[in-house]
Amino acid sequence: MTTETQPGNASPAEADPQWMIRFDKVVKRFGDVTVLRELDFHVRPGERVTLIGPSGSGKTTILRLLMTLERVTSGTIEVDGQYLSHMRRGDRLVPADERHLRQVRKKVGMVFQQFNLFPNMNVLRNITEAPVRALGVPRDQAEAKARELLEMVELADKADEHPSRLSGGQQQRVAIARALAMEPEVLLLDEVTSALDPELVSGVQCLLRDIAQQGNLTLLCVTHEMRFARDISDRVLMFDQGQIVEEGDPEQIFTEPTHQRTRDFLQAVLGA
């Protein structure tokens, strides 16, 4: 498959429904530091992919690019056949404007390491605010849906509670419900259990495992919890220095990694 690499000087390839996420020669630099080097990777609809690798290897940057919290330095990203960082004007690709970003961003949701619940709203309002303000869902409908989601994350009794009164695990479950309320097609999980006390980790992981198994949500997950990676994903990508070193199904990566970098990394995190 050949696609253009430089936005603006080639006829863009047509959308390919085969892929939910497509990175094409993506480069991301912060000043002098190159975080991603001509990264290519594809994710199928409904696929659950985990990114592992040492910190600073660019995993989180991939999620932040997909969430449009960062812009690519060069290369293109597509989500569900639509350009994310660029948009088409005539037969050229130009950097996306706010309207285009809002259009494509609808398909993507994200759960953060630090939850980032809005402290000025109660739990219910945290979940309903975006559907009401961004999608124009009537408030009573949004609330009914929010209560269903709270039921699912087993926090139905906390709807009127203030986020600061919840434990870290509960806050993260609310954040998951909040992301799902927008009905994204792609859900990005950025080290979602790293900030939790050890005893709260498994509850959140179980919830995410259920969500992964139920829906046809495309999941992209960055984690340091290898067991969780193994449980949740169809495919594992091992990153190092902004590039994919190795990829495969979790069984293969975790039991018989072929690459020395992967072996070293797994040894380090598993302490084996």
Partner: protein
């Protein structure tokens, strides 16, 4: 000089009703204007368009660098030459309000900067429209952070309000001076006026400190 109790009791009602009423009007009017205008100044100063943020920055700097007294004189004695005339009290309220808006703008700016980056990112991730990010996520948190400092400015405006007497506003202080000039005795009226300020400012400060502590936790 001996404290004259008879006269004290005679002037107390006037100072308490007329004088204090004007002081309270000037303070509250000035504060409301300062708090609202300050928020707009803070937002305009953050604008990405330089032709908006630069002039706003320059004007606030200018107002912060000149005395309130001079500004009051200019507004009251110079503006009427250009066809703008208002009552002394209105002029005073606008003068206080605009002057302190340039300070509260800084308070709001700090409050906005203090909202964690993660809040913005979560709001973007939820695809909230830009104006709703401001209205429902950032500003409520920023204003909450700003409340104690705004409270301090409320007290400051209250204490500075006697300056309005130079543009003929008859507040507590103006009235005290008038009463004093009738008998050439200033001890009683000025002392009473001072006590009023003390009696209101001290509980207000305590309240603000309490609010600060509640917001901290």
């Amino acid at each position: 000089m001996i404290w004259d109790w008879d006269w004290t009791l005679q002037i107390l009602p006037d100072l308490l009703t007329q004088g204090l009423l004007v002081t309270v009007q000037a303070t509250l009017g000035g504060a409301v204007l300062a708090f609202v205008l300050g928020l707009f100044l803070a937002l305009l100063r953050r604008s990405r368009r330089a032709y908006i943020s630069r002039p706003v920055g320059a004007v606030t700097e200018f107002i912060r660098s000149t005395p309130l007294l001079v500004q009051l004189f200019v507004v009251y004695y110079v503006l009427p030459d250009f066809g703008v005339s208002m009552t002394a009290l209105t002029t005073g309220i606008i003068g206080l309000g605009v002057h302190y808006a340039c300070y509260t703008a800084e308070v709001y700016r700090a409050g906005i900067d203090g909202v964690p980056k993660g809040q913005w990112e979560a709001a973007v991730a939820l695809n909230l429209p830009r104006h709703w990010i401001w209205l429902s996520v950032v500003l409520p948190q920023a204003v909450r952070r700003s409340l104690p400092a705004l409270g301090n400015y409320l007290v400051a405006i209250f204490k500075e309000s006697p300056q309005l007497s130079v543009i003929t506003v008859v507040d507590v202080m103006g009235l005290a001076r008038e009463l004093g000039s009738e008998r050439f005795r200033y001890l009683e009226p000025i002392t009473i006026a001072g006590l009023f300020f003390l009696l209101i400012a001290i509980p207000a400060s305590i309240l603000i400190r309490r609010m600060e502590r509640r917001l901290d936790h």
